[in-house]
Subunit: 491 residues, 2 copies
């Protein structure tokens, strides 16, 4: 590869002759690892013109660098970084103390320090990945996704690909969601009542910014999705945690002063509880009494392979009280970052303005690709295929868990992609996780789903969305061994 | 197209027999426009199973709907929405007053009401689009972008496509930016000093959230990019506007109490001024004295076809005081939504945590596609081609403006994609814009770039990035005519 002439800049403050500055600049490029062995340097003519110096100055610098083995000349083809050039150091070559800013003062707000756990990026290298929320390459419909992406890259869709939509969305995707996706949840909506977001996380974030302030209270489920808790903590509102039971959020336990209720009726995250119809109605009634809004994260509704999903809370809402959060990131693939918000137009208008300020709009090409994938029916077949395979995996998992007598806390009667587990008291599942990783088993410790320092440490989540059936029994066997070991230590 | 059985839900609160509820549900679907003429209904067996009712109930409902011409039966292939079915109304069919929420109370914060102008989405239908920041289909390297996207969609890149990166970025894109893009600006950075963002707008937004509070002051250029002003207004910090001159932001005029200085040294937006080297050094010196940070939006540096761009402010920064904002959205295409932030690792760490909370990460497939497009050299050729064409267009434009004696306020000595214009006093360029649209000419009124109600109304921006050379003279002639007309009215 040739090094582009535009990467060369003389340091205006450097000492010495022009030739020395050029030599120094090139040597530094090599020593810092920026220019690599075998890469071609610009011709002396080009570099001289670019730097505004005479050609002979550059030639002399090159010759010197050749003499000191930084460069090598090849007949008629110019100068290259020498194979014998000094090795760039392995450590950070920058002088220490370069940054003189007092960042503890300069940072106006901090966003680090949330409770979101570190998750392994290389999960697919583990033999027993009971990992949640990643794509199983054996299930994903790669060929058809590629086909749709290609179609959306075509000349006909040029505008969808390249245009700055300002604050708008791809009309084809909006139409599909309105006509086909939402009716499956019993929801009828108008185009100005929906906004495409960067996944469900972005939808929840926008909602929190628009509805909450330092003087308002959000009620959340306990345990709950940790990223939601981080979002609400950052919004600085009051937080009221309400313990869920086997039917999800109990309306009677909601504090009367809550302004906004965040709930996951389809599959409570992480316990997998599905809220029964009667409780859905009671929740709406309670919210009406409290004059509170409800944010319904319709998480995993599509992964209902055991029973048909119940209608969304939003479909029962006659007040405009429910804000609905949907996602394709989970069911197509998480890297897609595509979800949507449905709510009253006054609310959607504010979310749209905020989204425009934060990022303008989700990339048009991704919206159009998803629109094709959905409208050609590939999405439905993907969900059906996932349902069939998940049903089988779940059966194998249930059997293995029963064989080893492991404690299931929540399994979800509609399906889902994971089982919520409870280890014996005294077992720290973070420690369990660490021991299991060494044996190529990945689980998800449960502590981050709970609030505060008194969070129980003996829960964990086992997902079956990314592990083949045939590996499940061995994985559970290892889990059982390590659990038994930790339990003995705890006694 | 067949209507999926999953879009059918019985309204649990509806009156009447099961059969009547089914009829009502289907009729409503047709009347609301959700089910369209010729679409196939599910078989009675399927629908009965889905709703948990007897098959005869569904059959009776279908027969009734056929009798009333909502449906038609076709031999052996089932029921379809009839060609004679009632037309869905043109107006919004939902009963008024459905939304009972007092949104003026329920909304915690408002984000609408910024000064960002409405821009026509259908700009490409105008004959003379002097529109800024959109992609010219005749210049964009569609074939190679498609090629790179295809490569990034391949099995080898499956993980880059589908994976949830959590708070990380595509390592290939990061490496390219560090080794090739930043060195062209004289910047050396480490991987933990860079963050990929959803375009420059998202980079500016993240920066404002991390650095500014209600007790801090941001200094901005006047006039400046209106979306930046909206972002800063939303952050509720104090704003100090500093008038730019022909060399951009004058350091001597900066108020000493400013905490963060936002500037566009390469091409001041919208005046196109380039800050000379001496002033760049003076600005850094002044910021050091004030102990202020500088946010350098290195806007349009690559569109420098008249002279080589000067090194970035960031390259002269020895304190870690400068935060650098780069973008590919502008130079590849705006719908891409891809940019980056470079700054001290403490700062980048907070931005990364905030980005994770807001949207997790920009889609992996887009990052990987851009990495290929850059590393295969297509980006450089695109920029070169744009430079050549823009140079020609600019020449034609300058000539046409001179021929008509129109007032140029800022033209940028390095290149760029637009000219900043001044109409005679008394002319309102919003009115000019409206008149010109009727004649298929698009310009950008300048008022939104200025602060507050006293903003001058006689500036406008003329871009040559999306209009072919041969149309420029006629477009300018029409502009000149309408300007003369408005001027006569103003006198």
């Amino acid at each position: 590869m040739a090094i582009s002439v535009e990467t060369f800049f003389l340091n205006p403050d450097a000492e010495g002759t022009l030739q020395a500055k050029i030599q120094q600049m090139i040597a530094e490029g090599i020593l810092s690892g920026r220019f690599r062995k075998g890469e071609k340097l610009p011709s002396s003519r080009k570099l001289a013109r670019h730097l505004g110096v005479s050609r002979i100055t550059v030639t002399l610098a090159y010759t010197e660098l050749q003499a000191s083995d930084y460069l090598e000349a090849r007949d008629r083809s110019g100068y290259f970084v020498s194979q014998n050039a000094p090795e760039p150091p392995e450590f950070d070559a920058r002088a220490p103390g370069r940054d003189t800013i007092d960042w503890s003062r300069a940072l106006g707000r901090r966003f680090t320090g949330g409770n979101t756990p570190e998750k392994p990026q290389d999960w697919s290298r583990y033999r027993y990945p009971f990992v949640f929320g990643q794509t199983d390459p054996s299930l994903f419909d790669h060929a058809n996704w590629r086909h749709c992406a290609l179609q959306a890259l075509g000349q006909k869709d040029f505008q969808a690909l390249t245009t700055d939509y300002y604050d708008q969305d791809d009309p084809k995707l909006i139409e599909f969601i309105l006509r086909h996706t939402l009716p499956r949840r019993g929801i009828l909506a108008q185009p100005d009542e929906i906004l495409v977001t960067m996944g469900a996380q972005n939808a929840l974030w926008l909602t929190a910014q628009v509805l909450l302030t330092q003087r308002r209270t959000a009620a959340i489920e306990e345990p709950c999705y940790h990223a939601l808790r981080d979002i609400l903590m950052q919004s600085r509102c009051y937080l009221a945690s309400v313990d869920v039971d086997r039917d999800g959020l109990p309306p009677a336990d909601l504090p009367r002063y809550a302004d906004v209720i965040f709930t996951t009726p389809s599959h409570q995250a992480p316990t997998n509880a599905t809220m029964p119809m009667a409780r859905r109605k009671a929740l709406l009634e309670k919210a009406r009494e409290m004059d509170a809004l409800i944010v319904e994260d319709d998480y995993e509704f599509e992964i209902s392979f055991l029973r048909s999903p119940l209608p969304a809370l939003k479909s029962l809402d006659t007040d405009g009280r429910v804000i609905y959060v949907g996602s394709f990131s989970k069911s197509i693939f998480p890297g897609l970052r595509l979800g949507y918000l449905v709510g009253s137009r006054q609310f959607i208008r504010e979310c749209r303005a905020l989204r425009a300020s934060v990022l303008r709009h989700p990339p048009g090409h991704i919206q159009r690709t998803a629109a094709y994938f959905l409208s050609l029916g590939h999405y439905d077949s993907l969900i059906r295929r996932m349902g069939q395979v998940f049903a089988r995996r779940r059966q194998v998992m249930e059997q293995a868990l029963a064989d080893h007598g492991l404690g299931v806390e929540g399994r979800g009667v509609f399906g889902g992609s994971s089982i919520w587990m409870r280890a014996p008291d005294g077992v720290d599942t973070a420690e369990l996780d660490e021991r299991l990783r060494a044996r190529s088993v990945l689980i998800e410790p449960g502590q981050p789903f709970f609030r505060g320092p008194a969070a129980p440490r003996n829960y964990y989540r086992l997902a079956y969305s990314s592990i083949p059936s045939e590996r499940i029994p061995d994985g559970i066997a290892i889990l059982s061994e390590e659990l038994a070991h930790l339990r003995r230590l705890a006694l």
